[in-house]
Amino acid sequence: MSGIETVKVIVEAEREAARILDMAQSKATAVRAQLDLQIQQQRELILQAAKKHAADILQRAEEEGKVEAQNYEKASEATVHDLVTKASLKKSAAVERLLGILLGGKG
């Protein structure tokens, strides 16, 4: 191999090496460029799931709250009814006491 041919072979090898490195850099750039997209996708996936979970929790709480409130009101109906019944039984005594206050200035 002549000297010129030797130089040509070496230059060609260096060109090939440069091409290999360029390709590697391009690939690395592409990998990094994918990162933002991947993060964005993960963000949407994770937060959407969390929001769905949150919405389910809220809806369940609303429903449970309504049921508890209804149960409370239903139980309280009996209490109020009892209060009215007991008070009605004492009404005559109360009227007598008020008449006593009015007529005799008692109390």
Binding site: A17, A18, L21, R32, Q34, L35, I46, Y72, I101, G107
Partner: protein, 205 residues
């Protein structure tokens, strides 16, 4: 292999190794960044769920609190209705009493007696409503009052009737000092006290 061949092969080997390293570094960096991002996103997601749990507790408490408020309001309305009914019934009993001379006259005697005591004089003017002016045995009333006070009194009856369902106004001779004991005034004056007393009886344990 010739020396040139070995040299060029070395160049390409080094280039390939460096290329692999460049790509591997990019992938490692990316994986780490993605892992960090996921970790951060997980914390964000936990915050979203934690906030939802807090909000959910609030929502449940709000429903219960509103129910309690409605029940309390209903209870207050019922109590108020019963109290008002008791006052109305008392008022009706007073009206019945006014119609019954046998109980009304002693009541009037007591009112006039108290009026005279409060005024501290023996000579008074008594104001009655139109019906009482006609039907009350005035001499009897004067006699009863005097007997209860233990001294003679002089009662003059105002000719002009007062607007009331019963009771009296006892005034001094010039009418400047008046002890108002009409049923309406007595009711008004004692209403707060009566409500408290009725409440104790009706709703006390």
């Amino acid at each position: 292999m010739s020396a040139t061949g070995k040299f060029t092969a070395d160049i390409l080997t080094v280039a390939n190794e460096k290329a692999q390293s460049i790509v591997a570094n990019a992938e490692t960096e990316t994986q780490k960044a993605l892992s960090d991002a996921k970790s951060h996103l997980s914390r964000e997601a936990e915050d979203v769920v934690r906030n939802a749990n807090t909000e959910a507790e609030g929502a449940k408490r709000r429903h219960i609190s509103e129910a309690r408020r409605r029940v309390k309001l209903k209870e207050q309305q019922e109590k108020s209705r019963i109290l008002q009914g008791t006052l109305d019934q008392t008022r009706q009993r007073m009206t019945d009493m006014v119609r019954d001379q046998s109980s009304y006259l002693p009541y009037l005697v007591g009112l006039v007696e108290n009026g005279i005591r409060e005024l501290g004089i023996n000579d008074v003017t008594v104001h009655l409503n139109q019906e009482d002016l006609k039907r009350i045995a005035k001499a009897k009333l004067e006699g009863e009052v005097g007997r209860k006070l233990g001294k003679p009194v002089k009662i003059e009856y105002a000719g002009r009737p007062i607007e009331t369902s019963g009771g009296v106004i006892v005034a001094n001779s010039d009418g400047k000092i008046r002890i108002v004991s009409t049923i309406e005034q007595t009711f008004e004056a004692l209403e707060s006290k009566m409500l408290i007393e009725a409440g104790k009886i009706l709703f006390g344990d």
